[in-house]
């Protein structure tokens, strides 16, 4: 059974979002996503400072099996990317909700988060 932490927000393209205390939002891919992909061997992350629109492509994750785009779930400016993940892509497999985070954004509109799926809705989406 996939781990779907209750405190996070989700989108159906299998990214998760966490609202941090400073108002920034951390984005990664879900445990379900990494299970589907299998062993992850490369990640490509957005440029720090880039202004992303909602649903805009923000990166790529490549596993032994397949390549998959990573999208910005909400609009915002990229504040930071996870350099550790670029060097050790397997972190997205082993710790998808912790050390395997992808990037942080400053949301253009914090209320956008409210429109996303909660854990129960995402669980229903993936049939978990």
């Amino acid at each position: 059974m996939s781990n779907i932490p209750a405190e996070l927000k989700y989108v159906s393209s299998h990214e998760w979002l966490r609202l941090e205390a400073d108002g920034s939002v951390t984005v990664g891919i879900t445990e379900h996503a990494q299970e589907l992909l299998g062993d992850i061997v490369f990640v490509e992350l957005p440029a720090v400072g880039a202004d992303l629109a909602a649903d805009e492509q923000a990166g790529v994750v490549e596993s032994v099996k397949a390549a998959s785009d990573v999208y910005a779930p909400i609009a915002g400016e990229v504040l930071a990317v996870n350099a550790e993940l670029e060097a050790n892509p397997e972190l997205a497999n082993s710790e998808p909700y912790a050390a395997g985070w992808f990037f942080k954004i400053k949301p253009a509109n914090a209320a956008d988060l409210d429109k996303l799926l909660d854990a129960a809705a995402y669980a229903a989406e993936i049939g978990a």
């Binding site: 299998g38 062993d39 061997v41 490369f42 032994v64 099996k65 390549a67």
Partner: protein, 361 residues
Amino acid sequence: MTAPKRTPLFDAHVASGAKMVDFAGWEMPIHYGSQLKEHEIVRSDAGMFDVSHMTVVDISGSDAKVWLQKLIANDVAKLGFEGKALYSGMLNDDGGVVDDLIVYLTATGYRMVINAGTTDKDLAWMDKQSAGFDVQLQVRRDLAMLAVQGPKAIEKVCSVKPALAESIQALKVFQGLPSGDWFYARTGYTGEDGLEIMIPADQAIPFFNELKAAGVAPIGLGARDTLRLEAGMNLYGHDMDETVSPLQAGMGWTIAWNPEERDFIGRKALEAQKAAGVPMKQVGLVLEGRGVLREGQKVVVDGAEGIITSGTFSPTLKHSIAIARVPASTGATAQVDLRGTLTEVRVVKMPFVRNGKKVFE
């Protein structure tokens, strides 16, 4: 839709934590946790693959030899002693590859191993081609097959079959011999030393468990694919099929042109292709930067196009490699359309990896 078939080892896979997938109509293990770890185990130690979905055909009859000399492009006359094996394409009249296979010389005739996904059409083709020959085909559905591969594979098999250790260690590369109902062959699909062992179906799970207890890890089809790709070995239906000539699929070495009077199926078509000039060739591609080469991606060489027929991330080399069919004029580099970006790759002679080590320049 018929339900996928299960091999005699199905329960052992489930008990070992396998993720099962449908492969060529069979329910097979894709991995038991991590494909990358399984790959590494085969390169450094010993792993075992259930290959019972492949089909074993025993061939007998007074015409077995002459029939095989017509049926396949390599020449079984090369098999000079019992158990010796050869790899060959079985071609159609146009010189396309119906299947690729291994054939062993046995005490009673020949033993052939063909692919799972092509079994039905292969048997129909062989049946059609046997008209007028005294040849009998026996499909050995009663056998399971386990490939045990890796630098420690033979040592570990011998540790669970001490009575056979001497005869197993005496096997030459590409030789297989029976021991009672069992058959041990020093063949494989990984670029490592090892064995492919045919086992009466009801003895497969106990043997699997004995090997596991001896430290042989179960390996899924995922790692089987990355291992064979590193070894530069073709996968039927991807690197070649009925529309592809062996001359364009790196299989030229498997065609026995001599003696000239041996009229194997597809020979005339191949001779015509050679006379006209073969426009495409098979090469290895290497991408040392980021990204992964994938099957179906376009290869561009001086404005002409080729295609990647198999591509992956190489767990041994830590970058991407691919098998491609490219214009014959292709030199040391090519470009690949990598998700919309033309990216430069190196063109190399395969294999990429043998016995755990990088081998191309």
